[in-house]
Structures are given as structure tokens and as C-alpha cells.
């Protein structure tokens, strides 16, 4: 057992670090520093740079465009991405539908969709949750009825992240109403420009437009856009949930988040000294750092331990639970640290002139981010669902 990187790994680390330094878009860096909301072009700009380098999908098999890196190299890559504060690539194509297609898709589906996911030409969204089907996903009611070589889809999806930008969506739909809930579901790829699709924004607590409702009314979907067998879509859904958990713990980005909170706490004043000297605040930072270390080494044990390369097991639910809790605590401490200047709300409102800025820059997104990050313990299988998974799959209860 050792924590050292091999000379090859160290060389790789340098290569990644240099590449990011030379190629990360300056304009994007500026927007992040200002705390601006990022749009489709921002995500695509970085995506396309990584695509050109061949690094956009490290987890994919090489034959479909993956990098063939070792788990350690993938770990180094994600560490460097986080260390440099690069934006996260959206997961819907690269981490979700892509792996489903190369695992369950037909040769035609692979040829048609995978290259465009890699290149960023197609923007994907996920049609899973419904108003009546959240944690109990299998109770979904959006129905697809066969009509010749098409399905006709009717129903409603919700919490559809970035659907406003999406070219394509992958949807779970019911194709057999008589079967048990999990057994009558199919996995469809739907062109978001199809007639009958309406996307309606949902504005979240921070004022962001991230998620949407998607209404489907007599949407005609060619049968060849069904992945895997009819009524076997739950297999794809389960695979997708368990797949690509590398980085689910968010350790690298939380490490950077801790440094950011510490920097704020060294700047903010509290009594005679900086906030970081307040024993109560300091204690919370220290406890967070320690918990993050525990999470980091739990992840490393999985990554470079005896089961490395065997794919993620249900233990990854632990990483999701603890990782999301830590992400939330970070935003909580940031908001606490900025004090009064958590309150000003800038959306749709000028930030004033440069001579009289309202509060420090680092305070501008503190409250909206805190509000927004409450999502992390709810999405991707709520943390209660993750506990159910561990209870059943690991503890055998």
C-alpha cells in the first residue's frame, strides 16, 4: 500500500496540468471569477477543447472514444480539473446516455449517436422523473403506444435539467401497463424538436433556470430509437444509475471549495481578527476537512484497492451520501462566512457601479449557491434512497 504516484503518473499529472493552463478559455475563467451564470456556449467551449484533445470521455471504452487511462490516471485527471476550477462537463450525454448506448445499443445507434455526444454536437437531457414519480421512479406513467414503426408518447416529465438547450432526450416510458411497475418500461431516445414537445422552465430558489417540465403530447418516436428490448428499459435505467460513479464523491472540487471558504474566512473580520480565528467557525472548518479526508480515502480505497477496475458497487452510495453532505456544508459555511452580504440579490438587477460595489465578489453567489445545492441530497437517488440501496445490497437487510 502506498500513496505515491509512479513517475509515469507524475508525468501524466504535469501533462494534464500544462494542458489546462494553456487551453482553458480565458473568457470562461473570467465569468467564473465574476460569479456569472454559465450558458450553453460556456459548457460547450470547454467540452470541445477536451474533445479535440481526445480527453472528453475518459471513462468510455477506447473503441468508442475513451482514453484507456488507468484508474489512477483518471483520478489524477479529475483532481487536476478540480484544482484548476474548470467547469464540470454536463453528464447527460457523456456519463449517462453514452454508456447506455455503447452497452445496450445497436451498431446503428452507436454509429449515429456516440460521435455526436463526444463532439458536443448533440446536447442531451434526461427524461426520468415525473410529477408523481420521484424516488419511486418505477411508478412513472408517461406512456408509449406502438403505432406501426413508431411509438406515440404522451405524458409529462419534470426536473429535466437543461432541457431548454437540449437537442435530444433519453426517456423512460411505460410500454406495458399490465406488467409489474419495473417490467413494463422502455428506454427511448427522443428528438427534442419533435412536434408535441413543450418545455416549460422551473425557476429554483437561487433564481436559476436549470430545470424544466417537459410535456409530451402525441410525440411520434421511430421504433429504432428504442435502446435495448421493449419493456426492458429498467435494465438500462439501473445500469445508468450504477455507472460512472467515479467522481460522484466530488472530493477534488470539495477540496477546492474548502480552500475557498478558508480564504473568505481569512478575509472576513469578526471582532478583533479574521473570522477563521473564531473558535466556533474554525471548528466547523476543521471538522469538514477531516470528514472530507475520510471521504477521500474511502474513495481511494475503492479506486486503487482490491476491487479496482471491477466497476462501482453499491458502496458508491456511501460516496454519494457523504459527498453531497459535504458539498452542502461547504455552501452553508460560505453563506455563514459572508455575513450581511449574503442578502443582496443581483438577478436581473445591475450590480451598481464599480465605484460602489455591493459587498465582496465572493458573497454574490453565496446564498443562491447554498439554496441551489440543497438539490445534491435529493437528486440522483435521494440520500434516503441511497441508504435503502446500501441496506439491501450491502447489508442484506
Amino acid at each position: 500500500m502506498d500513496m505515491e504516484f509512479s513517475p509515469e503518473d507524475l508525468a501524466f499529472q504535469t501533462e494534464v496540468r500544462d494542458f489546462i493552463a494553456e487551453n482553458y478559455p480565458a473568457e470562461l475563467r473570467g465569468k467564473q471569477d465574476e460569479g456569472d451564470e454559465l450558458g450553453k456556449e460556456d459548457f460547450l467551449a470547454w467540452h470541445k477543447i477536451l474533445y479535440k484533445k481526445g480527453w472528453v470521455a475518459p471513462a468510455w471504452p477506447v473503441e468508442y472514444g475513451g482514453t484507456g487511462w488507468t484508474p489512477t490516471q483518471r483520478f489524477i485527471f479529475s483532481e487536476e480539473i478540480a484544482r484548476a476550477d474548470c467547469i464540470r462537463l454536463l453528464p447527460f450525454g457523456l456519463s449517462m446516455v453514452g454508456p447506455v448506448i455503447y452497452t445496450f445499443g445497436t451498431p446503428e445507434q452507436k454509429a449515429r449517436f456516440l460521435p455526436r455526444i463526444l463532439s458536443g454536437e448533440d446536447w442531451w437531457c434526461q427524461g426520468y422523473s415525473e410529477p408523481g414519480a420521484g424516488s419511486d421512479l418505477a411508478s412513472l406513467r408517461t406512456a408509449a403506444v406502438r403505432d406501426g414503426d413508431h411509438y406515440v408518447v404522451n405524458g409529462q416529465k419534470t426536473w429535466t435539467t437543461m432541457a431548454q438547450h437540449a437537442d435530444w432526450g433519453f426517456f423512460l416510458v411505460r410500454t406495458d401497463k399490465e406488467a409489474k411497475p419495473q417490467e413494463g418500461i422502455s428506454f427511448l431516445l427522443i428528438d427534442m424538436k419533435s412536434p408535441g414537445i413543450t418545455v416549460r422552465p422551473i425557476i429554483t430558489l437561487g433564481g436559476e433556470h436549470e430545470v424544466n417540465e417537459v410535456f409530451l403530447e402525441d410525440v411520434r418516436v421511430p421504433v429504432e430509437q428504442r435502446v435495448y428490448e421493449e419493456n426492458k428499459g429498467w435494465t438500462c435505467a439501473k445500469f445508468l444509475l450504477a455507472h460512472e460513479r467515479t467522481g460522484i464523491a466530488g472530493v477534488a472540487s470539495s477540496k477546492r471549495g474548502v480552500e475557498r471558504v478558508k480564504a473568505i474566512a481569512r478575509t472576513e473580520l469578526d471582532g478583533d481578527g479574521p473570522l477563521i480565528d473564531n473558535p466556533f467557525f474554525k471548528r466547523k472548518i476543521a471538522e469538514l476537512e477531516i470528514d472530507l479526508t475520510a471521504l477521500e480515502f474511502t474513495e481511494l480505497r475503492g479506486l486503487a484497492g482490491p476491487n479496482a477496475g471491477k466497476g462501482p458497487g453499491p458502496e458508491s452510495s456511501l460516496l454519494k451520501i457523504k459527498g453531497s453532505e459535504i458539498q452542502q456544508r461547504l455552501t452553508e459555511l460560505t453563506l455563514e462566512a459572508v455575513g450581511h452580504y449574503g442578502a443582496p440579490y443581483f438577478r436581473g438587477f445591475g450590480e451598481g457601479d464599480n465605484e460602489h460595489p455591493i459587498g465582496p465578489d465572493y458573497a454574490h453567489r453565496a446564498a443562491p449557491t447554498y439554496f441551489n445545492m440543497r438539490k445534491t441530497t435529493i437528486y440522483g437517488g435521494s440520500n434516503e434512497i441511497q441508504r435503502n440501496i446500501i441496506a439491501k445490497m450491502v447489508l442484506g437487510l
Binding site: M1, T293, A294, F297, T298, G305, K322, A391
Partner: protein, 379 residues
């Protein structure tokens, strides 16, 4: 980067686990800890001579297997799983660690005795007024010709009733809490003037109050330099702290497994209580603490060789996390068992008692949090 165990390490774990399964059944343990001796000396002898286990973390030159902190962690975790009272921690981890660090004739003489099972060494460091401050010492060693004269009182010295030797911290100079002036001595436990009051501890071990009354000790009992022993003492206590984190991991795992078993047997409202989601989620939370304790133990063991500051940050992070986890897992194991959990009848309560003592051994969660803050978040 590699987080796998070597074949030798796997063999150490498997061999020890099999041996302990045969020798350390719960009823057997309860019988011998209640006896006069408080242990079965044949087990220690077998660990040394039949299994070679006491040499796992010593160099091959001294007759060991060439291991180190990870081997100690493996042994301690397995000992924790059976609530062993064997004096591996003070003898091998602490005294062995000090001897490895100073080397020379003292190591050459003593380490083979440890490996052979002939020496049992208790660590007499704590004093009533000192709490977890290793430098806060009133025990004094005054130069007397070629040797020293030792006076003072050491508290709660685990394994002292069985010890052939004592590893003693004492002041050879400086004020009561100074870093300078602290020395470390390895002495014969039967020297004239050593007075012991022996007693059982709540976790099934044996310990003593030790009074040194003008004890004449030879000059070669000094380990390391005179008056500059604190760095070494901090190092071996950090090594010991990681070792009790490993023991805690074993104890916590058994608390968790015992709770899983019990909730599947115990029926209320007509069904096993394991079917209740509120208990399932609590047992998942316990599971996560066990896994994180294991992660932090490995982290601490891998960082023991770093420079002192980084080592202390790592060890304090580990102990803080493990102490919090041990409390959580222990208390919830008892709660989930209900009334039977607070009796002596089931093993679970005995694991809870050991987990509780480990929480504060070599520093409580608060003590280590404070050291972490000072070193990691200080100026």
C-alpha cells in the same frame, strides 16, 4: 498509488484471525479476564512462538517479518474484533516503536525478547494532572552517578500487572510543562521502589497506578538523548494512536455486525425489527462510520513517516474521526439492541465498553481536534 494489501499482509491477517477464532471465543475470554491473572498467558506465548505474530512489524535483522505500521494496524484490527486483552499495543507498537527509532544495542538486546514473547512492556506515561499533554510531567529522574533515581506517580498504566518492563516518561530537567527536559526510560518492572496498585479496567483489561519511590535505574535505561525525548514520545504515541484507530475499526465492525444479526433475529410487532426502515438507515449510518474509520486508519498509517507536522495533522484527523465514529456506532448498537444491550450477557455491551475507552485513549476527539486546528488551520 496502491491500496491493496500484500500477500504477506493478507497471510498475517488470515493466520491471526484463524488463531483468535479458536482461542478467543467470547465465553472463553470472559472466563480468563475474570481470573486472577486476567489473561491466558499461553495465548501470548503462542502468538510469539507458534505464529511469529509479535515480529510482524519488526525488521528481519531483528528476527521480524519486515513490516511496519500497516502490519501493526492489521494485528490491532483483528485483536479488536475479539476484544483481546493481549499487551500488543504497549509491547510491540509503543515500546517496539521506540526501540526501532533509537536502534543500537538497546534495540538489538530487547527486540528479539519482544518477538520471542519473553518481554511484556507497559507504557507508563500518563499522570493525574497531565490529561493528554505528554510533556506535563511531575515524575522526575535525577542523575545519580552513572544512573538515575526515579520518583513520581503514573496513572492507569495498561498491562502493568503483567509487565516485565516499563517504558517510563520522566523529567530530567525543565519546568513541569516544558518541551525540553523530557526523557524516556526502559526499565525492569521489578526494580526495588516500584509500587503498584493493580486493578481491572471497565473494558476488561488490567492496569495499575504506579508509584516510583527512589527507584535506582541504570544509565543504559535511557532511550534516546537526555532531555530531548519528547519528539520520540510524540512519534510513538502517534503510532499508538493509529494502532488504536485500527483496533477501533475491528471493534466497530463487530458492533455493526452484531447489530445486523440481532435485528434480524429480534421480532416485534410480528416481524424482525431489521425490516423497519428507521433501523435500516441507522445501520447504514453505522456502516458508513465503520468504513470511514477503516479509511482513516489506513490514511494515518500511510502518513506516519511524514515530517512531524504532517504526521500529527494526519493522526489527529484520524483519531478525531474514529472517536466520533466509535461513539456513534457504540451508542447506536446499544440502542438498537434495547434492554439486552445494557446487560453483561451479550458480547455487544463489552464491545461498546472497549469502543468507549478507545475514544479517549491517547487523546479524545476534542484533544485531537484542537491539535488539528492548531497545526492545519493555524497561522
Amino acid at each position: 498509488m496502491d491500496f491493496t494489501y500484500t500477500d504477506t499482509q493478507d497471510m498475517i491477517r488470515d493466520t491471526l484471525a484463524r488463531f483468535l477464532a479458536d482461542t478467543y471465543g467470547f465465553e472463553t475470554r470472559q472466563a480468563f479476564i475474570a481470573g486472577d491473572e486476567g489473561r491466558d498467558p499461553a495465548i501470548w506465548t503462542a502468538l510469539a512462538r507458534d505464529l511469529g505474530m509479535l515480529g510482524a512489524s519488526f525488521a528481519e535483522d531483528h528476527g521480524g517479518l519486515g513490516g511496519g505500521a500497516l502490519e501493526n494496524a492489521i494485528v490491532m484490527e483483528e485483536l479488536g474484533k475479539v476484544l483481546a486483552v493481549e499487551p500488543y499495543l504497549p509491547t510491540v507498537v509503543i515500546a517496539g516503536g521506540a526501540l526501532k527509532a533509537v536502534g543500537g544495542a538497546q534495540a538489538d538486546a530487547m527486540i528479539p525478547e519482544i518477538i520471542a514473547g519473553n518481554a511484556i512492556i507497559a507504557f507508563a506515561y500518563a499522570e493525574p494532572q497531565g490529561r493528554y499533554d505528554l510533556a506535563n510531567l511531575t515524575t522526575s529522574a535525577k542523575k545519580d552517578g552513572a544512573g538515575w533515581v526515579l520518583n513520581g506517580h503514573k496513572g492507569v498504566v495498561y498491562a502493568a500487572p503483567w509487565a516485565t518492563h516499563l517504558l517510563v516518561t520522566a523529567r530530567t530537567g525543565g519546568g513541569q510543562r516544558d518541551r525540553d527536559g523530557v526523557s524516556l526510560f526502559l526499565i525492569d518492572a521489578k526494580l526495588p521502589g516500584i509500587v503498584r496498585r493493580d486493578y481491572p479496567t471497565v473494558d476488561g483489561n488490567r492496569a495499575s497506578e504506579i508509584y516510583f519511590e527512589n527507584v535506582a535505574i541504570p544509565g543504559d535505561a535511557l532511550l534516546g538523548g537526555e532531555g530531548v525525548g519528547l519528539d520520540l514520545i510524540e512519534q510513538i504515541v502517534d503510532e499508538a494512536t493509529v494502532a488504536v484507530c485500527a483496533e477501533a475499526t475491528g471493534v466497530m465492525q463487530k458492533l455493526h455486525e452484531g447489530t445486523l444479526d440481532y435485528t434480524q433475529q429480534r421480532k416485534q410487532f410480528g416481524i424482525p425489527i431489521a425490516k423497519f426502515q428507521v433501523l435500516q438507515h441507522r445501520m447504514v449510518d453505522m456502516f458508513m462510520e465503520v468504513e470511514q474509520a477503516r479509511s482513516m486508519t489506513i490514511m494515518g498509517a500511510l502518513k506516519l513517516d511524514l515530517p512531524a507536522k504532517e504526521r500529527m495533522i494526519a493522526v489527529s484527523a484520524a483519531k478525531n474521526k474514529v472517536a466520533r465514529g466509535a461513539k456513534f456506532v457504540g451508542q447506536n448498537a446499544i440502542q438498537t439492541h434495547g434492554g439486552i444491550g445494557i446487560t453483561q450477557e451479550l458480547a455487544i455491551g463489552h464491545y461498546f465498553k472497549r469502543a468507549t475507552m478507545i475514544e479517549s485513549q491517547f487523546g479524545s476527539a476534542d484533544h485531537h481536534m484542537a491539535r488539528y486546528e492548531r497545526l492545519a488551520l493555524g497561522d
